[in-house]
Symmetry: none
Subunit: 410 residues, 2 copies
């Protein structure tokens, strides 16, 4: 084992991989990434295994060395933690939207899932619900941005195995929250409490002065909170104990900050890191460099690539990769001794959703093995020396190049 | 997820892979396969994993997305189902041969394992055994072709874990059927019943008028039925529920039709699809195209490649590949949106039996990734972008390109 510190960065460019003869990675001009690929070795990363289609939350757990098949219990916890909410083991957390609903003979009909997507007096509307007591549970609500919020239910005997109130569509009825396991009292109880919360939120918000004000100004009333993505908070062994190294997270998106907090990593807010294409990558680069003395591993997440894949915008995805190259990699590439870069999954512009295709993977270190690949592209990675690395294996590869891997046997 | 139908074919060329500097795939002239390989991506498929030597039945289960380590319970069920026999859960099924045996001082000696390999009055001989009652069980017998048959034992408390009556050799004694698990009453009972059936078949057939007729015509008597390959019928979750898509099978060989029926797939008989080198591939192509509207996935099996590998006939295996190219792929290649082609295992002409070598794999779709491979050969596949796909992963890859994969996480 080397005693010298190996300054290490794990860079996840969300939804990086693509399909087709030409891809955003192959079309983009990426001199810095090319230099890293020439110096380092490339291959593919599959977060869950070939043919398995991963969500972003589950992918990140795997990449950070945690088996999502045992430790994943819904997305809501990551959203709540990422929004800065504190959770206690046993809490059930959600994402929530202030929506506009209308009473009809069939029930409450969703007319706008974002109540106009402004945030005028929405903080007050959320505050009116915060602390609601239902049975022996308490609901805490935290407004994040615009119509969005994170929520948690605290109390005994709860489960995350429940459906959503949010129908995920407009001109659709608010959904009755159903237990996914009707024979499990915890599932039944959690569903009942969220259902009660949903109904009471409508009663309270319909009568709220802030909504009368919104309507009088020609805005839609935010007259219900609809939740989705229940997550149970049951944190695994913290990252430092699990891997024997310290790590911090530099990310804009709440989900990724939430995954990092879930794993006990330090999370730093970066001014201007918005989790969008407009994110300030220079600020992220500076933060990554600043934290590289204090932490063994700096985990950096950049979201923009994924969003353009979902929108089917090839040119914009390629431009985002060029921006990462010019504004981020140009700055950090000579600072770190070990750079591992990949995506959490592929989001092909042709598919406009996540795919199971493995993602280009780069490992750059002065002692990286030679291969014939000269760029980080889907086609070049097929020639790469790293082969196919499964998500759950990646931290082991990183630890090994850091000189921090633990040997099995002697 | 795309709502558009992706017309999909999974083509299995049995025993396709080979060994050596030149292989049947590299020696064959395959313009259509070459075009698919150029347009698509290639790699390798290993049905059970590297270094694992698979049988055809087990390979097909894995390739179709079923873990053979949990759902494989002997070959006999596939043979019986493929012969059109209906099975009930708990039945034990076999392949059987009408053989010629001779009484000796040591016991019944097999003189011809196929009783001359004709089928003169063999249907009558089999019919004389059909419906035999032994203890609380019933034996059903179905003649298939020449000396061959499928058989099933129905009754309570049976197991497939028994030996064979067929010694698989001539001038060898008929084997006493032994339980493989002497401490398991079901194994003991099934062995006892098959042993009784074997002895009674000799008594009944020795005295049968059809055998006297055969002998008077200079033919060998079919005076015993010897069974092998006991299989327990315990069908897994049907394909449509398991994968969320419908599928049908276009095959000549009984085993492959049986595997498809075992998985609840629709099976179509193709006139002229014989499961041999003489099979009518144009008829198979037409059937595959005809069924591609009705079913999400058309699974096509072509047997000839394997048989030539077993016989060590390199030139004939290469010619069979050329026949597939000219008579099948030429017709179907522009019809399907997604073509995945591979073998179930390798059957190298030099080895003359199955090998554990991974099999060339092709995925052709308009959005397939680019790689540098221009043909589907063992050497070109080493340059392929698909890498090594395990059998159990393959259906996930297919579903992903069909836009039908289910996401884990969000």
């Amino acid at each position: 084992m080397s005693a010298d510190k190996v300054k290490t960065m794990l860079l996840i460019m969300d939804g990086l991989g693509d399909r087709g003869q030409e891809t955003p990675l192959s079309a983009a001009k990426t001199p810095h990434l090319d230099a890293l690929a020439c110096k380092g070795a490339v291959g593919f990363m599959s977060s869950l295994g070939l043919g398995k289609l991963p969500g972003s939350d589950v992918s990140h757990l795997a990449i950070l060395g945690y088996d999502p098949y045992t430790c994943y219990k819904g997305r809501g916890t990551f959203e709540a933690l990422g929004a800065g909410m504190d959770l206690e083991p046993g809490d059930v957390a959600f994402r929530g939207n202030l929506c506009t609903v209308e009473e009809t003979s069939e029930g409450l009909m969703v007319r706008d899932r974002r109540a106009g997507r402004d945030d005028y007096r929405m903080a007050e509307l959320y505050a009116a619900l915060d602390g609601m007591e239902i049975e022996d549970c308490v609901v805490k609500v935290q407004h994040t941005a615009e119509h969005r919020s994170a929520l948690k239910i605290s109390g005994p005997g709860l489960s995350h195995e429940i459906g959503n109130a949010d129908p995920h569509a407009e001109d659709a009825l608010v959904m009755k929250v159903e237990p996914k396991r009707p024979d499990d009292p915890a599932s039944v109880k959690a569903a009942r409490i969220l259902d009660t919360f949903t109904k009471r939120s409508y009663e309270i918000l319909s009568a709220h002065e802030a909504n009368q004000d919104r309507v009088s100004q020609g805005k839609l009333p935010g007259n219900i909170v609809l939740c989705r993505g229940a997550g149970f908070y049951d944190p695994p062994e913290p990252f430092e104990q699990h891997h024997g190294i310290t790590a911090c997270c530099v990310a804009g998106g709440a989900l990724y900050k939430g995954v990092a907090r879930f794993l006990g990593m330090a999370v730093f807010d970066v001014p201007g890191a918005t989790g969008t294409a407009a994110t300030d990558l220079a600020a992220k680069a500076k933060m990554a460099i600043d934290k590289s003395d204090e932490f063994d591993l700096v985990f950096v997440h950049i979201k923009g690539t994924d969003a353009f894949g979902h929108d089917g915008k090839f040119a914009e995805k390629a431009a985002m990769i060029e921006k990462i190259d010019a504004e981020f990699l140009a700055v950090v590439k000579d600072h770190f001794d070990l750079i591992v870069a990949t995506g959490d999954h592929s989001t092909p512009c042709s598919a406009m959703h996540h795919s199971a295709d493995p993602v280009p993977l780069l490992l750059c270190h002065k002692d990286a093995r030679h291969d014939e690949a000269t760029r980080l592209t889907e086609a070049e990675c097929a020639k790469g020396g790293l082969g196919l690395v499964h998500g759950i294996e990646l931290m082991g590869v990183i630890l090994d190049y850091m000189g921090k891997a633990e040997m099995f046997g002697e």
